[in-house]
Symmetry: C2
Subunit: 223 residues, 2 copies
């Protein structure tokens, strides 16, 4: 058998492994929008972003959202820290989160199908002691068969739902989304881990989450 | 040839046509979150929802978002009215929108694959005289071949992008999303019409939009 080598000197399998091992090249990241419903929103939002150490994550702040690129466990740590800082202010806020992995381009993926999947351990979360309610959508988008692994979207989606039930955050289905409730840190763990679980067999997976903290509707809720 | 008939007395083709003709049975709808960054957010948000006539749309308000079910042109009219009311207050707000059609269930579609697509004319929008910036994701999700029409995701996505360019709202691609800018009404038209365009050949299509209005970053922008 022959193997084709490119100018990198790596065989195709090695190239693929190098690519999936690098979270930024594999397009692992988030877009985060924090909307604090207060006249003091600028200092609340900027404060939450500045008080939490991004470590090795790549951060680009825009007028609609903040892009955060890097490994899944680092993303969960940072997102939990930033949103917990917001929640602890007591101000009602709506937090929108888009997660994506496996498609570092925009309109068209820069990665060919079959470059993934990228398999990582679902990241572990922490309790932050603040209640939140949320609506969650999870989208497996690429259908390439990789290394003999048949994608099975429903199996992976069910695994993500089972994890939400284990973590105690699952509350059921409403139109178009799954409703999550509970500790803010466990909601984020549910969503990041579910996204990674579906990513075991699917290269391109996105997820969207809208979180409500300190809502007047939550006044009666204890966690 | 024989045709199977069910208890409805309709042939399968007629059943499918009746189903795709009914926006609520086909699962056409939106989830809208308005986050007004002001101490007066309750009256701003409820006022915008109450001042605009939902007509025949089904509305269910929750603590994370408001569900709005009904036909695409009615959705565009109502979403434009509500968000324009918010924009006219001058208060900085972040607006999150999820659109879905072709999957009226939640975790699992209640519709079988091949029940669609539903073909409607892309709805026409209006200028509302308020500038907005936005980030847009568009997801064709079902892959069933219907009536000999091969789904062609990239063709339909490009048609949606071309429409954004025609409407003057397209600003380019950033990580994971397409950036739109311009009149708030034309941004919403872009997103609703693009969603309908992809729905010409794909049963289940979702789209997510995050819009910023009255941002301090927009102080220099005229439309």
């Amino acid at each position: 058998m022959t193997q084709s080598h490119t100018s990198t000197g790596l065989a195709p399998d090695q190239q693929r492994d190098a690519l999936t091992a690098d979270p930024l090249r594999f397009g692992v990241g988030a877009r985060l929008t924090i909307a604090a419903m207060s006249d003091h929103y600028p200092e609340l939002i900027l404060g939450a972003l500045q008080e939490n150490d991004p470590g090795e994550l790549r951060i680009e702040t825009g007028d609609v959202s903040t892009f955060i690129g890097g490994a899944e466990d680092e993303l969960l740590r940072y997102l939990t820290g930033v949103t917990a800082t917001v929640a602890r202010t007591g101000v009602h806020a709506s937090i929108s989160l888009l997660l994506s992995r496996g498609c570092p381009g925009e309109v068209v993926c820069d990665l060919p199908g079959g470059a993934g999947p990228r398999e990582v351990t679902p990241p572990a979360g922490v309790d932050v002691g603040r209640y939140a309610s949320a609506e969650w959508a999870l989208y497996p988008l690429a259908d390439e068969v990789h290394a003999g692994v048949e994608p099975d979207h429903m199996r992976d989606i069910y695994a993500a739902i089972d994890l939400a039930k284990e973590l105690g955050t699952f509350r059921g289905s409403v139109h178009f989304v799954t409703r999550l409730e509970g500790d803010l840190g466990r909601i984020l763990q549910t969503v990041l881990a579910g996204w990674v679980l579906v990513g075991r067999t699917v290269q391109h997976v996105t997820s969207h989450l809208t979180v409500s903290v300190n809502s007047p509707s939550h006044a009666h809720v204890d966690i």
